[in-house]
């Protein structure tokens, strides 16, 4: 059995007296897409930067691709592609020049560079824009270039901090396809605030206050939470939501299009919930259905005090 790609035991990162990471335990054995999720300020960006070898950290054990993060990481960085939250390529260089610049830093042979570049430009749809300066690209194209740039030296680990933030829905789908393709050759670790992306990850790490609060496949996390979810359909959805919030076991109720999403806590009998929701005072409910718990309810339950 080969060594794990990532193995962290009691990883800590302090900024002065504040512990941004307060003892992270994490082992990842195989290539997959790992999503780091959790509330604002939980330590997501710090963890990603630590994995990319960008921080001095304390730990009982901290190896990434077999290299100890507490020692010399110069060699390790050649095998990591890192895409930070804000665009950090050269705006006055063209798409082609940016990729060439990165390839030279990695001492890629010209023939290998041309082969990788051609493939990445085709995969990202950036080929027609190879001679455009990065600063003139749209937000989605900039992000695709940043990812292509991180992939040009064929890294074994790709780390991306909110790669799809602020990108339109079409570009977001294209970026996700790139990440799914990258998974064949690399471990992909990313943070995201989008629920659909979290649900599409192979594995999720839920961080809170610098610690791993929960980890597993999206299905495992869903199965572990004790919430239940219902939809109540009716005409005046805002009135239904207000009335539903008055029920003692309802944690959240929000008018959502033609129905009200009702999050239920404390495992009341489903028959009772159905009866109560059908008979909400002052709000005509036409149909109530129980739903499988989704990513929104899962993350909501995990963030409950």
């Amino acid at each position: 059995m080969s060594a794990p790609l990532i193995r962290l035991r009691r990883l800590e990162k302090r900024y002065g007296r504040r512990r941004a990471l307060a003892g992270i335990d994490l082992t990842i054995d195989e290539r997959q897409i790992v999503g780091v999720v959790g509330p604002d300020g939980a330590g997501k960006t710090t963890l990603l930067r630590a994995l990319a070898g960008l921080l001095v950290v304390d730990a009982e054990e901290a190896t990434v691709l077999g290299t100890d993060l507490r020692g010399d990481v110069t060699e390790l960085k050649a095998h990591i592609g890192y895409v930070p939250q804000s665009f950090s390529l050269h705006r006055d260089l063209t798409v082609d020049e940016n990729l060439r610049f990165t390839a030279r830093l990695h001492r890629l042979a010209e023939a290998e560079f041309v082969r990788r570049k051609t493939e990445l430009l085709a995969r990202t749809g950036l080929a027609p824009f190879a001679d455009r300066t990065a600063g003139q690209l749209s937000g989605g194209m900039k992000q695709k270039l940043a990812i292509a740039n991180a992939l040009v030296a064929a890294p074994a680990l790709l780390v991306l901090d909110e790669p799809t933030a602020g990108v339109d829905v079409v570009a977001r789908a294209e970026i996700w396809t790139m990440l799914v393709q990258a998974r064949t050759d690399a471990l992909v670790v990313l943070s995201t605030s989008y629920l659909d992306e979290a649900a599409a990850c192979d594995r999720l790490i839920y961080l809170e206050a610098g610690r791993v609060r929960a980890a597993g496949t999206p299905a495992e996390l869903r199965a572990a939470v004790s919430s239940a979810l219902y939809r109540a359909w009716g005409d005046d959805v805002r009135a239904i939501a207000r009335a539903a919030r008055a029920l003692p076991y309802v944690q959240a109720a929000r008018a959502t299009g033609r129905f009200v999403r009702v999050e239920v806590h404390g495992a009341p009998e489903p028959a009772r919930v159905l009866r109560d929701l059908e008979a909400l005072p002052g709000a005509a409910v036409r149909l109530v259905e129980p739903l499988p718990v989704d990513m929104e309810s899962t993350l909501l339950a995990l963030s409950s005090p």
């Binding site: 005409d235 929000r254 929104e296 993350l299 409950s304």
Partner: protein
């Protein structure tokens, strides 16, 4: 139908050769939540800046709550509340000191201020945050505080530019409850977001791409136009099949499945919901699949590109 509280006609803004907003005509009904959508750089923030009188359009007209914003850009400010992506709370001042500062701008003081802020503090759950400085507050609470301050002077129209960006799912939910409550109390909310599932919380959605309006309707109407409609998987016990078929009536297309049948309907209007409710009464189990807004807007953009 009441007269629109926000109305633009042919609104256009050019910066040199670049057209940021191109011939935009929208109308917003009072007391509704209007989602204004588009990618980064599509012209959303430029539009908001013109609507609130901070930027003069190159062409077109803007009217907000009866005020001609182009002719009287300062006049509109008493009618509106604004909260940007970066919440405009002063660092170094506590939340309470921020409240007093903003109250001063709107000549709100004494008992009137105490009553108004007391109510907001309670509704927005800001009691514990009052003595803290904004930089020490979690993003979700800071956003709520920003919304409380934007509504301090009881504006009739709220402009919220990506209020839930960078906020976790729990705070996003609480925030939308507050926004829906504001709309319920008659306030008009003009909001931008990148989370397309949040469009479901709104009454209307306008979508712009490269400065041009490419979709403008209720979320449900957009779903009907840009998706294959609702799919309802119905599981029926064998013994109940005949009874169920008799109960359903002609509400949509059906196709048999091993568990029962699949029903496709363009919309879940009252007759369809009533029919489905009758199905449940016969012992059938339903799985209603509503097309996701993400897919709806992906279709809007690809149809436009084609």
């Amino acid at each position: 139908m009441p007269a629109p509280i926000i109305r633009t006609r042919g609104l256009t803004k050019r910066f040199g050769d670049f057209t940021a907003v191109d011939d935009l005509s929208i109308e917003v009904t009072p007391g509704t939540i209007f989602a204004f959508l588009g990618a980064n750089g599509s012209g959303k923030s430029t539009t908001i800046r013109m609507l609130i009188g901070l930027l003069k359009p190159t062409a077109g007209t803007v009217e907000v709550d009866g005020v001609d914003v182009i002719a009287r850009p300062r006049r509109v400010r008493d009618h509106i509340g604004y909260m940007g992506q970066k919440v405009s709370l002063y660092q170094g001042l506590t939340l309470r000191e921020n409240v007093e500062f903003y109250a001063g701008l709107y000549a709100l003081a004494g008992k009137e201020l105490e009553d108004r802020w007391g109510a907001l503090r309670e509704r927005f759950a800001l009691g514990e945050a009052e003595a803290e400085k904004p930089e020490d507050l979690p993003a979700g609470i800071r956003q709520r505080a920003g919304l409380a301050l934007a509504t301090l002077h009881r504006p009739r129209v709220l402009f919220l530019d990506e209020p839930t960006a960078g906020v976790d799912v729990r705070s996003r939910g609480l925030f939308w409850d507050l926004i829906q409550d504001e709309a319920g109390a008659g306030v008009t909310v003009f909001v931008t977001t990148h989370f397309l599932e949040e469009v479901e919380y709104c009454d209307w959605a306008a979508f712009i791409d490269a400065g041009r309006l490419i979709a403008n309707a209720t979320p449900e109407a957009l779903r009907q136009r840009y998706s294959d409609g609702y799919r309802v998987d119905v599981a029926v016990p064998d013994a109940a099949r005949t009874a169920v078929a008799a109960t359903l009536g002609p509400v949509g297309e059906t196709a048999a499945t091993p568990e029962g049948f699949t029903l496709r309907v363009p919309a879940l209007d009252p007759p369809v919901l009533a029919a489905l409710d009758r199905l449940v009464a016969t012992g059938a189990r339903l799985d209603i699949r509503q097309p996701a807004m993400t897919d709806v807007f992906r279709r809007v953009l690809t149809e436009r590109a084609a």
